[in-house]
C-alpha cells in the first residue's frame, strides 16, 4: 500500500494544476513563468479555472482580510491533496504593507503553507525554483499541509474566527461571504 502511494505521489508531482487565483502584485511574475522562456507547462504545471480541479493555490501577494475569506473558501473547495504556496514577503509577515489597515500579515495562521518564496516580488527564476521544489516535496511526500489542516482544524478555525469575528460557514450551502 505504502509503496503504491509513493508511486502516486511521484505521478502527482508531474501534473500540478494551479488555481488561477492571484492576490497582490506578485501575479505579475507568473505570465513570464508560463510563457515560452520558462515554460512551466513542461513540468506539467498549468493554470486551472476552478478550485475543484486545482491542486495548488498560489497566494501571490498581500492578503487583505476581505480576500482571505475568498482564499479560504477556495481552499476548502479544493480536493485533497492540495498545497498552498505563499509567494512574496507580504503573506510571510506583512512585507511593506505590514501596518496597513486592510491586510493580514501572516497567512500561516489561517492556512497551512507548504512553501514560501521570499522576495518582493519573486522573479520568474524564483518561481521556477519554487515549482521544482514543490514537485520534489510532493514526490517525496513532504508537502502535507492539507493533512495538517485536517489535524489542526481547531487551531485554524479558531484563528479564523478571531480574525473575522464570526465563523465562516460553507458546509451547509450558506456562505459567509
Amino acid at each position: 500500500m505504502v509503496e503504491w502511494l509513493k508511486l502516486v505521489d511521484k505521478a502527482r508531482s508531474r501534473s500540478i494544476w494551479m488555481l488561477m487565483y492571484c492576490t497582490g502584485c506578485g501575479a505579475m511574475e507568473l505570465p513570464p513563468a508560463m510563457t515560452s522562456r520558462f515554460d512551466m507547462e513542461r513540468f506539467g504545471i498549468m493554470p486551472m479555472a476552478t478550485p475543484r480541479q486545482a491542486d495548488v493555490i498560489l497566494v501571490t501577494g498581500y492578503v487583505t482580510k476581505k480576500t482571505l475569506k475568498r482564499i479560504i473558501y477556495a481552499y476548502e473547495q479544493m480536493p485533497a491533496p492540495k498545497w498552498v504556496v505563499s509567494h512574496g514577503s507580504c503573506p510571510i509577515n506583512g512585507g511593506v504593507y505590514w501596518d496597513s489597515h486592510a491586510t493580514v500579515n501572516r497567512l500561516d495562521l489561517f492556512l497551512p503553507v507548504d512553501l514560501y518564496v521570499a522576495g518582493c516580488m519573486p522573479r520568474a527564476e524564483a518561481n521556477m525554483k519554487m515549482f521544482t521544489e514543490l514537485m520534489d516535496m510532493i514526490a517525496k511526500g513532504e508537502a502535507r499541509g492539507w493533512e495538517e489542516y485536517v489535524k489542526n482544524r481547531d487551531y485554524y478555525k479558531e484563528n479564523q474566527r478571531k480574525l473575522f469575528g464570526y465563523d465562516l460557514v460553507f458546509t451547509d450551502g450558506r456562505s459567509a461571504l
Binding site: V8, K65, W98, D99, S100, N105, L109, V150
Partner: protein, 196 residues
C-alpha cells in the same frame, strides 16, 4: 473650445480664478469665505453642470484630502475632456468636524461610485446618494474611516492582533496549541482531506 476660452468662460460666468499649474490641467476652487453653505453648494453644482455643457465629457474622480491642521476636507472633482483636451479639477472645502455634503449624481452618474468610496474612506456624507452609505471595499469595518489622518493603523492592528501578528512592533499570537505531529500515510489512507 480652447483652454483659454474655458478659463475665460468660467471667470466670466462664475467670477472664479482658474489656475493652470501645468499644461492640460486647470484648477478652480470654490471660495470658502463670504458665502453661505447653500450658495457654495449651488455654485459647485452650477459649475459642474456648466463644465458638462462646454465639453467635459468624463468624470475621472472625486477624491478627498484630509487637511487635519486646518480642520477641513478638500474634495476634488476631476473632469476630463477628450476634445479640449484638458483636466479640470474643481476643489471644494468641507468642515472636517461635520462633513456633510450634497451629491452630484444627477449631473454626473459616475459620482455614485466615487461618493461611495469617499464616504467609506473619509466619512463624508453625500446627501441624496443612497448608495454612498453602503460599504464599498471594506467588510465588517469597526473603526473610524481609515484614510482620515487621525486614524492610527498601528494602533488598529494592536487592537486586532490576529490581523497584525507577525511584525516586530506588533504582538505575536499563537492561540491554540498546534498538533505538530505529522500524520502517517497509513493513518490517513492517503486520500483524506475533504474537510467540510
Amino acid at each position: 473650445m480652447r483652454v483659454e476660452e474655458v478659463i475665460k468662460a468660467i471667470q466670466d460666468k462664475f467670477g472664479l480664478e482658474v489656475e493652470s499649474p501645468y499644461p492640460r490641467r486647470l484648477r478652480v476652487r470654490i471660495p470658502a469665505e463670504g458665502k453661505s453653505e447653500e450658495e457654495r453648494r449651488q455654485m459647485l453644482r452650477d459649475l459642474l453642470q456648466y463644465a458638462k455643457e462646454i465639453g467635459f465629457q468624463h468624470m475621472s474622480f472625486i477624491t478627498c484630502v484630509d487637511f487635519i491642521k486646518d480642520g477641513r476636507f478638500e474634495l476634488n472633482y476631476g473632469l476630463w475632456s477628450y476634445t479640449i483636451p484638458t483636466m479640470l479639477v474643481v476643489k471644494y472645502d468641507l468642515d472636517r468636524e461635520n462633513p456633510k455634503h450634497i451629491t452630484v449624481v444627477d449631473i454626473w452618474k459616475p459620482a455614485k461610485t466615487w461618493e461611495q468610496e469617499v464616504h467609506e474612506m473619509f466619512g463624508v456624507e453625500f446627501d441624496g446618494n443612497p448608495r454612498s452609505f453602503e460599504p464599498y471595499v471594506l467588510e465588517d469595518w469597526d473603526s473610524i474611516p481609515p484614510l482620515r489622518k487621525d486614524f492610527d493603523p498601528v494602533q488598529y492592528l494592536k487592537e486586532h492582533p490576529m490581523q497584525g501578528a507577525g511584525y516586530d512592533p506588533l504582538p505575536y499570537v499563537n492561540l491554540v496549541e498546534k498538533n505538530l505531529e505529522q500524520p502517517t500515510v497509513e493513518e490517513t489512507g492517503g486520500d483524506e482531506g475533504a474537510d467540510s
